[in-house]
Symmetry: C2
Amino acid sequence: MNIVDVDLGARSYSIFVGSGLLADPDFLRQRVESNQVMIVSNETIAPLYLSLLENAFGDRKLAIAILRDGEEFKTFASLDAIITNLLEQRFDRSCTLIALGGGVVGDVTGFAAASYQRGVNFVQIPTTLLAQVDSSVGGKTAVNHSLGKNMIGAFHQPTSVVADISTLKSLPDRELRAGIAEIIKYGIIRDYEFFVWLEEHIESLLRLDEEPIAFAIERSCRDKADVVAKDELESGMRALLNFGHTFGHAIENVLGYGQWLHGEAVACGMCMAAELSNLMGMISDDDLERINALIARAGLPLKPPSDIDPNLLMDAMQVDKKNRDGRIRLVLMQAIGTCFVTQDYPNDSFELVLRGVEDNSNVRS
Amino acid sequence: MNIVDVDLGARSYSIFVGSGLLADPDFLRQRVESNQVMIVSNETIAPLYLSLLENAFGDRKLAIAILRDGEEFKTFASLDAIITNLLEQRFDRSCTLIALGGGVVGDVTGFAAASYQRGVNFVQIPTTLLAQVDSSVGGKTAVNHSLGKNMIGAFHQPTSVVADISTLKSLPDRELRAGIAEIIKYGIIRDYEFFVWLEEHIESLLRLDEEPIAFAIERSCRDKADVVAKDELESGMRALLNFGHTFGHAIENVLGYGQWLHGEAVACGMCMAAELSNLMGMISDDDLERINALIARAGLPLKPPSDIDPNLLMDAMQVDKKNRDGRIRLVLMQAIGTCFVTQDYPNDSFELVLRGVEDNSNVRS
């Protein structure tokens, strides 16, 4: 088991990465002090791992909330269901919520923990690769609104994150690939050495070879923890973690949540951000090619669906949380491993990237 | 104009108390840096003061959200209406929300500001006495749930509080009295000197004499700010501010929100807490009598409605946020000016107080 410490003063916590952690009741019990424990999961994950947690926390007052599976259930309604359950069980401020599942379960549970009685403890047990390397770390919690993703939420840090890589064996191949998108992101935004390592090991990650996958998760968590520790509330460099996300969220929003996986949209968004950086002369054709090649080897999309309306994409990007005073803020590249946030880019290049395949086929050739 | 500073490190802010502040556009403009301003008010207050704010912020991108008036609209639905409006206006994280109204408007607006895009700035402009001396100060925000009051919320500090005492002239007499309940509370929990002052000036407060009302608001805000600065997240002494509230919330809950005003329920709750303290031998009959007399002079209720079911009251108290592991925590008195939080009290005395008028007529005589 490897431990990554997230240094946030009074809100510091540890990420535990290892194999078979959920099968260790003593380890799990040590993660939760409270006598009142609610496990929140979804209908896909609960049949697989809930019994392990029920076994570990059988000595506590235990409540279970099972959400339906999918991004479309990351809503006020799911939040309300959890809160109602907590109130019906008469759980007080000393309770702990455990999020057992992927990013949706983690985000909704985290926001429920942030807002129930103005804040209770919670533990993240991410069971998807995406959640293990990204959403479970850093304290961002939220639900979606029909007008935009993650528009209602809170910064609320977990007290522990337990990333059991054994759970990845049950993950559909498509979700595994989606998780790899966020891993690649860390290489691009701040860790060139890791990017090179990924170019050498991408196929072994797809095969879930234990040593490389554990390394990639730990390295990703270290990268993210390092950024979050320096900028917990996203007033500056934390925005770099959104590389590819402004484009990606717009794709998800226009297609309708649940059509593309978040990681797929982010992968495509990263290619678009890299392409814009290339059009602006900030990264070489060779760097753009390396990024596209790695994302292609991971089986992830390089371009938005050809029938998507670029005007709708632009429209959706207007409501991104990083925007200031109406101008869309983007994370762009200076090189592989070096990114920055900017509102300063030529509109024609931006629109060229949004218009996609037909108009920029020359760039991609 | 008097200024009370709330010392919370990076989240410090000032409370401005004075007459005619809303009629001073320059003063108002200095309170808000953002170019995107949403004013949230309700259908009772908006016709009185909204035009003053529209005048002050006519140079900004301005949005207006008008809620219906009443505690029964302190809901997820009102929160959602504000969030939807913000998204439709495409307001970004740099926006500022202004809460113009009483405690309900302040609490809902504050929670919207806490959760919109994980947190934006907000300014409190409380127009009721209750909001000026209590709910607008300290950063507690929330909406109600059908199973309990203020069960979903956040700690989110305003960037300014503007308490214009001119607005109290339009306040119904019943609401004025309700606000005085919270003022009396500060005397009881931590400020004996203020309690004595109130015994001398209670009638002039009810007449809204300018000098005493300004003094009482400022003194109350100082008392509250002092407590909040020492314990922002209510891990300890901040709970003293809930004196009378555990009983009071239960009364509101059982009667149904909107039947009794919050301050009326708190006044009654303070009498009940004082009575329990007296039954336990912690305060003298004379102290109990002084408290009851002051609350009676303010025209506030000393006892719950005689037809209320004590078992329902007990039931409702079980979900109070201050509870730990199932035992109801109460704020009780050692003397006028000295209170403490405890789970340690005789159940028979507690039940005697809940059963109310018939059984304890001897105590009250």
